[in-house]
Assembly symmetry: C2
Homo-oligomer: 196 residues x 2
């Protein structure tokens, strides 16, 4: 018999908290407190899904992407590069940067990576904890394009399937793997529906 839910979906059902406004809180295991065994399993799962690709680096964005990226990189035996979030306008010449606007909040953020850490010879696995509208992810892809690097794949722990980020990325032909895709949520009684 096929298992109904994978390990991450099971954990979200058990410990995720649904709040008004389609907010899913996973602070107790993924975003503030980190369950290291779960992170190791996420690392293993992404390794399984992307092991046929050539991966030279894992790219993520601070802060909550770093932990997942580390355990993925541990399996691939490659370095992590984490993009920094910056508000500053005066960026030096030695960085790639992308200004991304949040569709929901209309806030602008700049993500920055020092040029010498991504080259055109890199084949990069992009990792993040959440994908909703995908502003941060778009910034990371922009940076890889600026560097002439290859986007080998994109691994997301939790995708909000009712927001358009994932669809956009798949439409553009990227190999996107989300371990849990939430199609809808209800606060009371708590209900989280995952895509099959």
């Amino acid at each position: 018999m096929e298992k109904k839910f994978n390990f991450l979906e099971e954990r979200i059902l058990k410990d995720g908290i649904v709040k008004e406004g389609n907010v899913l809180r996973v602070d107790s295991f993924l975003n503030h407190q980190l369950d290291v065994e779960l992170l190791e399993n996420i690392g293993k799962e992404f390794h399984k899904r992307f092991k046929s690709e050539k991966i030279t680096k894992v790219l993520t964005v601070e802060a909550s992407g770093i932990a997942i990226a580390c355990f993925v990189a541990q399996k691939f035996k490659v370095p992590v590069v984490f993009a920094k979030k910056s508000k500053s306008i005066n960026l030096s010449d030695d960085v790639y940067s992308a200004e991304v606007e949040s569709f929901t909040h209309k806030t602008k953020n700049t993500v920055v990576v020092t040029k010498k850490y991504i080259s055109k010879n890199d084949s990069v696995l992009v990792i993040d904890d959440f994908l909703a509208n995908g502003a941060a992810l778009q910034g990371l892809i922009s940076i890889l394009n600026q560097a002439g690097a290859t986007v080998a794949g994109i691994g997301i722990a939790i995708e909000k399937g009712f927001q358009p980020g994932g669809q956009f990325i798949r439409n553009m032909g990227y190999h996107l793997e989300s371990l849990a895709i939430v199609d809808s949520m209800e606060v009371e009684p708590k209900k989280i529906n995952f895509r099959k």
Copy 2:
């Protein structure tokens, strides 16, 4: 024959960049790009140094502390909690917070941990990448004191021994282990002197 430098000191000598104003850049392996094998070795070393202590959680502060904390926690098989940096004045009742002022920059930062992730039954290993004047570390200790938790130990990758943070912490009787203590640096020719 005793080895002159440990693995982290060797790496700092090889890839660390010394800048004017006693700045040590370790972006290529610890702070922006992450050498995962080095981080695993740091995790092993802290495990060796603190394995006689009871450790129930590893506490760090975003962003660059997270990676090291993950590999330490992996060896101890305990969760990581990472404190968030906040500028906001309106904090909810369900968090511990500590306002810390940088001695050097005079900037104020608030570090925040949700109460339910640290309890009085926790015996916590505090981990961070750098210790200079120690403002962030003081905030983490303040949070553990607010929670009534035990500070089981403090593990720092790189301590700037010419700034007072480490001395203050040792004077207060905490078990502080720094893998590399830089006593002085010179830009040209590059020279980094470690404490024996």
